[in-house]
Amino acid sequence: MDCKNYQGIISAHVDDALSPKERWAVQTHVNQCPKCRQMYIWETQVARDLKRKLFPLEARPALKERILEQLGESHGESFWGWSYGKHGVLAAITLLLVVTVPYLFWQNGAEENVFNHAIAQYQEVSLGGTPTAQRAVSKTPTARLLDLSPWGYQILSRQSHWVGGKQGRTFVYSRGPGEEYLMAQEFEGMEISPPSGGSVVRTSNRDFVSYSKGGVNLVAWKDKDMLCILASKLPKKKLMGLAQRVAFPS
């Protein structure tokens, strides 16, 4: 190794981040080479002063309050494992009214309502809560078609519910901390039609409806009698790719 190589790891030596063998090699060289010794002394001083001049920034107290409030909302539990907090109860009542009134006029544009409902539920997920569906039932369902575990997704929560007179199942998945959430919904006996602003991609004689709203992307398709929906903040192309892999698993 020449001086250039040693100089590249002098910082790591200063921070005591080398293996014993590397440490010995660098220190031996530093002892013999005046130029590298000077750089070692210099970098020791710089590292010390950087740590002195750079320190953690203070967050606004309001941020801590926001976090505590959100943790409270995501923490409250109903008996079937869905989350709500003190504001969640009010939100749930409001949501119930919002989704019940359109239910009376369900005959037209039912699918578009399903899509918008799915997006609203996803937004609830990304705010730290879990989706609240109309007429949730207490049993914990198993996904019939939307088991995403083969694609590396872990299930975070699940719920059976009724939307627009049809039985549905909602599953929240993630591939791990920091990864985007993915919400999957199955509805038996529900038809599919592109909502206004949506588009259709036809692959292997199957229609995939793509729809976006409020930063949430959604892909829906029919599998026999089942309407399948995936909603996420994942990029559109990625979500469509996943939907097609789920729809054609072989």
Binding site: A12, M39, W42, Q45, A47, D49, L50, L57, P177, G178
Partner: protein
Amino acid sequence: MSRVIEAISQRRLLFFPLDRKKEIRAEFERVALAQLPYLYTSAFYLTKDKADAEDMVQETYLRAFRFFDKFQPGTNFRAWLLSILQNLFINRYRQKRREPTSVNWDKIDEVYESMVEQDENMEGGNPEHHFVSQMMDDEVEKALRGLSEEFRTAIVLVDIEELTYEEAAKVMESPLGTVRSRVSRGRRMLQVALKEYGQGRGPVKE
């Protein structure tokens, strides 16, 4: 790490009874909120925007709480939180800001080596002449914000968050050698930038 956190790692949070969850939440708040300045600091240096940093920190806490069972007791809790933050930044925020990463290394090395050499030529040498020691704290912060993302992140994780190089490598999902190189080069760039600031010019970039 407390016994509560160890217990959490054994089972998913969802299956704990409600009173136990209250205890877990209290423990999470106690342990995790102590890291708030560190998370906010990293978020701010990543996004360079206070509002985005706050949103990112808030979401990091929610995700950390949901995935609390994934935390390995005995490992660095701050590094774990910072990994979540970093992933969130990559998935959601980085797309918004593509930063130029072109750096004139020859120029950086030339200026840096001349600084060290100049110091060496002074009688007895005097490392206090380096620009980090001469600058105000906020000038150093500003110079750090001016570094490109990969070097800025390495400096923040090692010099402010006080992670080991191995922990920083995990957070950045980069090889150890890359972290060593980024810390070394990042510090050099910072010193050259401070020298340029000191002389009333902008940082050395192509």
